[in-house]
């Protein structure tokens, strides 16, 4: 009914990249713009001042009248083996030429053969004659989806020719690594690349990428975990630390994801080989790779095979000793020192980033083999990146209790400006608990004193808390909570001595489900520095106020009767592979109060069914607050992976519409669905004073590097201290709002100002960040849906 169609341009494509994955990472062929009449002519905004930008896109050029010729290759008698098929075909290189791409049945050539059907004769090693029929099936224009896929494959060939190592989807240079010995890490510099049809040109989008590798085997990691946690929690700790990680092996060039650990197996265990014989791992690795496995007691890692080989979906067993870890674990990400040490090497400022990129292009330009390959296909690149103009929209005014503030656009932060100004809605703290251990008695008092100093100017009325000293055991905390929390308690503050997750999880779980009271956990360490205590106390006071249902500031939202929705997902890879969707919807006109729910979905279930239910309750709550239903709904949908756009457009959006229909026959609000993507390859640089800088917050890009088949735009909303700022990509996949693109862009940017845990502009609209926070808390600590009593407060901040 909504007229969204997905072109079938890719259906019959069979040319494959290494690994044979057919997933369409670039969401090619999802044409959503064609259904939106009001953006057929133009999807660009107009407000703001112009800014000169360069990007990391490079034009792909081809000869005039260039085309790619697709042939079907048939064999008579039929030949099964792909290698044999290739060998037989390439006996005729004088006919088909030396430049070709062949997957066993489909052949791509840069030139047209003389006749539409060419018959060739080859002889096998057995002396059998084989007739090969090469039939032209398609003449592909440069912009066809198949061609785009083809360019990407050719480009990957080039990177391989440059001796870069493929890890996952990207290519890295192993010869010049950066070693960070105190964390046993190694960083490889590499490149991401994708070639796509953009507004006017086919372009290569290339970016610098860093691969973090660990200079230790999985067995090493297991050993150090064992010494850290002890026998009792060892298996648990291994599962938490290792499952979901990607490993490289010592003997082949493949990556595997650890899906499970088989503790009942070990290297002496046997497996069935393809020929049916049984063999032990020890024997196999010795025989096949001459590798001696030294530890025969280690468990075996299990990796599920993603793709079906001969219709058998199997799993692979891996030996920890022979596997090296890649990437960072959540634990490592939360290690401040490690991330700081890493950032030195990975956060490249704009100039340096473009320089590294320039180096890749120089390699491509200078390498004879690469140039030959490109020439043979009739392709070449512009070696200078694309420049164009973007717009910087004006900064927003921040309103707080009748006062209006401007902020310095350079910093995109209003912490200083709003200090000492009453909050829009300050929730009193009449009855609250402060829980601490004996060791933290002083710290608890310091916090209390500081809170008494900072809260009055915010307008928060605060009584003395119930101070409770506990010993540092999880059970004690829980017992105290059970005994001392009453329905009148406004909030519970716990001072924790270490960042041990189990204690935090237990407290949060209890106070979010069984006993729904807002809670605030503070690490003692953060309160221990006298020079920062006032800043910290201010932040905590604001955060607590939001958790109790307070409101801090607002921006002007010109639309009336509008409900804003944010959705984000968290995928729990450890415990049972749950997926959690956080769902947040605004409740009032000023967009300062939010209704929050989440959907906990076990493996195999669809998240969208739960989201539909969330939307229904959100509408009910909105009408309760506003005495009517919203006439406009904006959905900001985050957490959509590469290649999932199709599903979202064809399944989720219709469900939203269904849901609205179910509210009432006479109810038809205007709906806008915007897919928000933080992880994009595009980078923008402002050309300022002959150098490259990060573009200022509010920079909007809706030309040149956007996609013609989408109603999409980029916004740079946040600022970064070091490195390059990443723009956020917004793709309006459904829109009956009739609003001009400029208004949708402005609204989106306004919403980036509304995240109360940060008095500044953030990377995504606030509802997305709230939804993310909620899903993360539930996925990490609570594992089930929190009590709905809390749903009108930002208790998860």
């Amino acid at each position: 009914t909504i007229g969204l169609q997905v072109s079938s341009g890719l259906q019959d494509l069979s040319l494959r990249d290494r690994g044979g994955r057919r997933r369409d990472f670039h969401d090619l062929g999802v044409n959503t713009r064609q259904a939106m009449v009001h953006v057929q002519e133009s999807k660009t905004g107009c407000s703001g001042r112009m800014i000169k930008l360069t990007t990391n896109h490079f034009r792909l050029t081809s000869r005039p009248q260039w085309a790619l010729y697709q042939y079907h290759v048939g064999y008579s008698p039929e030949m099964e083996a792909r290698r044999l098929r290739s060998a037989l075909l390439f006996q005729h290189e004088e006919t088909i030429g030396r430049t070709h791409a062949f997957d066993g049945s489909i052949l791509f050539l840069p030139k047209k053969l003389e006749s539409k059907v060419t018959e060739l004769f080859s002889r096998t090693r057995n002396g059998d004659d084989v007739k090969i029929t090469v039939t032209l099936t398609n003449e592909l224009p440069p912009t066809s989806p198949t061609c785009l896929q083809f360019y990407n494959i050719i480009f990957r060939r080039l990177l391989k020719m440059l001796n870069l190592q493929q890890i996952g989807r990207n290519y890295y240079n192993p010869s010049d690594p950066v070693s960070i010995p105190n964390h046993r890490l190694m960083v490889w510099l590499g490149f991401t690349s994708s070639i796509l049809q953009y507004e006017e040109n086919i372009m290569l989008c290339a970016d610098v990428s860093h691969k973090v590798l660990r200079e230790e085997t999985v067995l090493d990691t297991m050993h150090s975990l064992h010494s850290q946690v002890g026998e009792e929690r060892f298996r648990d700790a291994c599962a938490k630390e290792l499952i979901g990680l990607i490993v490289l092996t010592k003997y082949n060039n493949r990556t595997y994801r650890i899906d499970d650990i088989d503790w009942d197996n070990n290297p002496k265990g046997t497996f069935r080989k393809s020929d049916g014989s049984e063999m032990s791992f020890v024997e196999y690795y010795k025989k096949q790779y001459n590798i001696e496995i030294s530890d025969w007691m280690q468990p075996v890692l299990i990796s599920q095979m993603k793709r079906k080989r001969g219709n058998i979906q199997g799993s692979v067993a891996l030996i920890p000793e022979l596997c090296s870890l890649t990437g960072l674990t959540d634990k490592m990400r939360s290690d401040f020192n490690m991330m700081k040490d890493l950032a030195i090497h990975t956060r490249l400022p704009p100039e340096q980033r473009q320089r590294e990129l320039g180096r890749l292009l120089t390699y491509i330009q200078k390498d004879d083999n690469v140039q030959k390959e490109l020439r043979n296909w009739g392709l070449s690149f512009d070696y200078k990146s694309v420049s164009f103009t973007g717009r910087v929209v004006q900064g927003e005014k921040i309103f707080q209790s009748g006062t209006m503030f401007d902020y310095n656009p350079q910093f995109a932060d209003w912490t200083k400006e709003t200090r000492g100004v009453p909050l829009i809605r300050a929730v009193p703290m009449d009855s609250w608990l402060l829980i601490y251990t004996r060791r933290n008695y002083d710290v608890a008092n310091t916090l209390l004193q500081s809170l008494f100093k900072v809260t009055p100017s915010m307008g928060i009325r605060m009584n003395k808390p119930n101070m409770i000293e506990v010993d540092d055991r999880t059970e004690t905390y829980l017992r105290v909570l059970q005994q001392r929390v009453t329905p009148d308690t406004n909030i519970v503050v716990c001072i924790l001595s270490s960042s041990r997750k189990d204690k935090y999880d237990a407290i949060k779980k209890y106070l979010c489900t069984d006993c729904p009271i807002p809670s605030q956990c503070v690490l003692a360490r953060t309160l221990s520095k006298p020079q920062t205590i006032m800043t910290v106390a201010t932040k905590i006071a604001l955060q607590m106020n939001c958790k109790m249902g307070g409101e801090l500031w607002s921006v002007e939202i010109p639309l009336k009767q509008v409900m804003i929705v944010g959705i984000d997902c968290y995928h729990d890879t450890v415990s049972g592979r749950q997926s959690i969707a956080g769902f947040v919807a605004s409740l009032n006109q000023t967009v300062t109060r939010w209704f929050s729910r989440c959907v906990v979905q076990s493996r195999g279930q669809e998240l969208v069914d739960g989201i539909k239910a969330c939307l229904q309750t959100a509408l009910r709550n909105w009408s309760k607050w506003n005495k009517c239903l919203p006439s406009r709904i904006f959905v900001y949908r985050d957490g959509v992976g590469d290649g999932q756009l199709n599903t979202l457009v064809n399944y989720e959006v219709p469900q939203f519409l269904d849901c609205l229909k179910s509210i009432g026959t006479d109810y038809s609000p205007r709906l806008t669905v915007i897919v928000v993507k933080k992880r994009v390859g595009a980078r923008f640089f402002a050309e300022i004073g002959g150098g490259l800088r990060n573009p200022p917050p509010g920079t909007v890009v809706d030309t040149v590097v956007t996609r013609p088949e989408w109603y999409d735009f980029f916004i740079v909303s946040q600022t970064v201290k070091n490195g390059c700022v990443a723009p956020t990509h917004y793709n309006v996949v459904y829109d009956t709002s009739q609003l001009k693109p400029d208004h949708v862009q402005r609204l989106t940017y306004k919403l980036c100002h509304m995240y109360y845990n940060w008095s500044g502009i953030i990377r995504v609209p606030a509802p997305c960040q709230y939804a993310h926070k909620l899903a993360f808390l539930v996925g990490q600590s609570i594992h089930r849906e929190p009590n709905l009593m809390l749903s009108d407060r930002l208790y998860y901040l």
Binding site: R123, K160, P174, V229, R473
Partner: protein, 370 residues
């Protein structure tokens, strides 16, 4: 050209494992027996034998030679080092090189090898090439061991579908007598001994037909008489190098230093961690009592033995923790990497923060909690 595939169709039922695998296994066994350091595969084709040999830990130099560059290029990337080879450089050094050229031509890059393999090669040679072949391999390259395999034509009657030769590119296929007389003559001429064997057992009762693939193993009778032999035959390079990969190795100072720094830093970190834990034990944290100490694993075991000696214990002075290098050197992994204490000091100099006298690794603990 594709030696591996030529017999697949007809014989896969007959030989288990397939014959080509048996040939490779034969070479591998030979490598295990003689432990050659430098191995060359003539007529290396798609490099699958080289790929198998790269896992043999005695080999430090591997070379391949083929007349068809495209065939080699098809899979030559399998001979490149893997990411893990960079992450955990091996003790041995390994260089793999592929050359494009003919076995009828001499090139100095083929000198000095211990083992030269010619698996299913000679039957592809034209008469003129076959004539030059012994002089190039036995006279010029003159390795300690040469392995030559070739089809045994007497066996062909047992192979369904084989009309004249097993492969259209074969220029000849020899009977046992023909091969042996050629081999004996070659061996005599260049002062080698030769033993005959093969893979692909004939069916019972037909033993006199011989192996499906016949193999001659040639051993040079006398040790090489030094460089004089080679210097008599100066030659120019005629092969074209199409591929070269140098594997990261601890023999290379760059990788050794990196490995030592990594091991020293990591060991010191762990020792500091254990040391700080011990100091914190007397605090009020009930969950840190010794009872919840992890059971002794190999690491803490090692640690236990080490700190007996008083002057080797880590110590605190001001805001710094010091871990003596002598203690770190006692760890087997560190010791094995460095060999001597002096080497350890030399390798980490300027790369790891040390105490002023250079005797201990130093950590600042001012900003750490607990």
């Amino acid at each position: 050209m594709d030696r591996n595939m030529q017999e697949e169709f007809t014989q896969i039922v007959k030989f288990q494992p397939p014959l080509y695998k048996q040939r490779y296994q034969f070479v591998k066994d030979l490598v295990e027996k003689y432990k050659p350091k430098k191995v060359a595969d003539l007529g290396c084709g798609d490099c699958s034998l080289l790929w198998m040999l790269k896992f043999c830990s005695c080999i430090e130099v591997l070379a391949g030679l083929d007349i068809c560059a495209n065939k080699m290029k098809e899979k030559m990337h399998t001979l490149s080092p893997l990411p893990v080879d960079y992450l955990q450089p091996s003790e041995r050094s390994l260089t793999v090189t592929l050359h494009h050229g003919s076995v009828a031509h001499k090139d100095p890059c083929m000198l000095g090898f211990d083992l030269v393999t010619c698996i299913e090669l000679i039957e592809h040679l034209e008469e003129s090439e076959l004539k030059k072949f012994p002089e190039v391999v036995f006279g010029f390259m003159a390795p300690s061991i040469v392995v030559i395999s070739t089809p045994n034509s007497e066996f062909n009657t047992l192979l369904p579908g084989v009309k004249l030769y097993r492969h259209p590119d074969h220029k000849f296929e020899w009977s046992q007598a023909q091969f042996q007389s050629w081999a004996l003559e070659t061996a005599r001429c260049y002062d080698y001994s030769v033993e005959f064997t093969g893979v692909g057992q004939p069916p019972t009762g037909m033993e006199k037909i011989g192996f499906c693939t016949q193999i001659g193993v040639f051993l040079r009778k006398y040790p090489q008489t030094g460089e004089s032999v080679q210097s008599e035959k100066p030659t120019e390079a005629v092969y074209k190098t199409v591929f070269k990969a140098v594997y990261p190795s601890l023999k290379d100072e760059k990788y050794l230093q990196n490995a030592v720094i990594r091991e020293v830093t990591f060991t010191a970190e762990i020792m500091k961690h254990h040391f700080m834990l011990k100091r914190a034990e007397c605090s009020d944290d009930p969950e840190r009592k010794p009872k919840s100490q992890p059971p002794v694993d190999c690491f803490s075991d090692c640690l236990g033995k080490l700190v007996i000696e008083k002057n080797m214990e880590p110590f605190v002075s001001g805001n710094e923790v010091y871990i003596p290098l002598t203690t770190i050197f006692c760890f087997p992994k560190v010791k094995r990497l460095c060999g001597t204490f002096e080497k350890l000091c030399k390798l980490i100099a300027g790369k790891v923060t040390l105490s002023s006298d250079g005797s201990a690794v130093m950590f600042n603990i001012e900003h750490e909690n607990e």
